[in-house]
Symmetry: none
Subunit: 409 residues, 2 copies
Amino acid sequence: METIYASIITIGDELLIGQTIDTNSAWIAQELNKLGIWVRYRIAVGDVKKDIVDALVTCHAMSQLVIITGGLGPTADDITKPLLCEYFDGELIENTVVKEHVTQLFTKRKRPILDVNIAQAMVPSTCEVLWNGMGTAPGMWFEKEKRITISLPGVPFEMKNIMEEVALQKIQQYFTTPSVIHKTIATAGKGESFIAVTLKEFEANLPATVKLAYLPQLGGVKLRLTGIDSTDEAMTNLQNELYQLVQPIAFALQDIPLEKHIGEQLLAKQKTVAFAESCTGGSVCRLITSISGSSVYCKGSAVVYTNEVKHRVLQVPNELIEQHGAVSQEVAEAMAMQARTHFGSDIAVSTTGYMEKSKTVTDALVWVSVTDGTNTKTQSSILPYNREKNTELAVQFALNLLRVFLSNG
Amino acid sequence: METIYASIITIGDELLIGQTIDTNSAWIAQELNKLGIWVRYRIAVGDVKKDIVDALVTCHAMSQLVIITGGLGPTADDITKPLLCEYFDGELIENTVVKEHVTQLFTKRKRPILDVNIAQAMVPSTCEVLWNGMGTAPGMWFEKEKRITISLPGVPFEMKNIMEEVALQKIQQYFTTPSVIHKTIATAGKGESFIAVTLKEFEANLPATVKLAYLPQLGGVKLRLTGIDSTDEAMTNLQNELYQLVQPIAFALQDIPLEKHIGEQLLAKQKTVAFAESCTGGSVCRLITSISGSSVYCKGSAVVYTNEVKHRVLQVPNELIEQHGAVSQEVAEAMAMQARTHFGSDIAVSTTGYMEKSKTVTDALVWVSVTDGTNTKTQSSILPYNREKNTELAVQFALNLLRVFLSNG
């Protein structure tokens, strides 16, 4: 079966000057992947005719499907439609269905209809119009030399609407594509290179139709198996095999964040949690409460940012801080212990650390302690980045220690 | 003066399959714009040698500067570096400085160093190494036929670090670019269209060499004036004129976040702050403590996520919660009042709200109260997005109320 490749061209100065981040391309790529179509090339150009034509030529040489987004707004400097006319040997003609639709939209919103709005009904005679239920700029479908070109508006919800309602179905009908199955394993606590060594043999023995991708994130790596024309059973078997190999750092057979997994574990065990945060400033609790329904298992957090407040709010003895320093195993453990009673939770997690180097601190460092009142697990980690990244890493380190604590309990 | 154009090539299957959204390109474009360099073309390719070479050829034909990100990680298929060797007529040689740096990083983190890590020290002989203080993959600078090519790792904070610490300066020294002056005004509390109406006349009267950009963010809009070959005095005058027009929503004559401005205000007034957070789960305190040195003025936060804990930790009367509901002006004010004494701070800020619609909640909503014990300011806001965006918006709403409180005090 011939592999179907796609290219994406995004048009618009706002993308090139960095004012807008292109989220359309990722969404389109994901949707095409589900159909077994691979995005091979992506080009972003400004509102410059020559550059757009060059991009079209390049993309048509590389792929059977080209998707263009942007360049269709009701503005005067619009060059995309005349250019598509020229490229696909057509002329601009009025589409009565689109004109009716645009007119109705404006009447409904009780806004005066302008010439630039009516002009949206002008489309190249060589295209098939793709219905835009969410706006005034129609999508357009061109076929030339067994290659398909689709032009879509750049506004994300209009683009998505045309793709979901019309374009994806037409693409699937036009091309003969293989079936694609993705299986993901979420891991935490080890880096990409460490896992790669563990999986060297597994990777070497994978069938040619299955690929393994490492998707690193701060604090962990997502492992994704992609199978072409594979059965769901074969892919599930590979996923299970992979899961066994990366235990105990694997925590889920799906693409979920650590905080969601922890929430599920707390719910299953009917346990509540609370936090005492110094260096993380509330970030650990913020992530845990980002999950809908977390008020069932999360009591809260005492963000005790100064030594005085560690004593005032959590009764951490001043002598302990003086003797060992605020960033120490002893203070971390005292904070976790006190947080349990402070909030009346089953489990408590504490963080205390230096998030950046300074005159007095040679290495950024975090201490984390987890306790259920009987068992306590306390660990530290050196943090190699800047203040912002170190804080994120400290949060992931704390979440992972809580995960390990829960999985052993 | 010759216009300097840049192109950006991003390498990586994860970008093409839509797993990762490319935020690097927008950041790079913004930084180059500040130097008077315009991004003309952007190409995303997978880990395919032919496609990467094609992209290089295309981009070199269109621009004097090509920036490549990605394709350099320890598990990346060994394509990019050998390809750059070939393209720039070099051979892979070991760079002892990079090797030393990689070895030290692993020793410090007490992790075993692997062959794939050591391999990061192999670089093309025709490049100049750009120091990566945040990771193991070095940046590379190539010069060929008066065109510059820079290869950077794809991890955003590593890429940014190399650009900020080394590459941007080298780019500025290499190319002769027009002088570009940016003047920014940071605002909070109003949307883009509201501000656009206020500034209609100001915009119409701007000289042709000066442009005004609206950079909307959650909770506010940055206004950026860009002048090409303008004087600093003329630009400062325009900035001051603009500042007067958008008072009282403007809070800074520079591009700083609200939490930094608030920190500066607290330092200047020698006041301390503490928080009582329900719906925001610690996010307000997290932002305030993201600023280096914030322990001088930020005492901490009581994240009281459940009603029981609001009473247990902050002594909010149960009757008050029963009578008015936890999401109410009365409970917000009680939380702020209690947080002041709980932490011994001068000022306290509370948040309580619903972050998403549900069977019992028709509209997501937040109540925020700010108090110094004598004066109290309490306001609510409807939140129109999903749980995640609503939480961010609630945090910005709280920070802005604190800003207004401080500016009046």
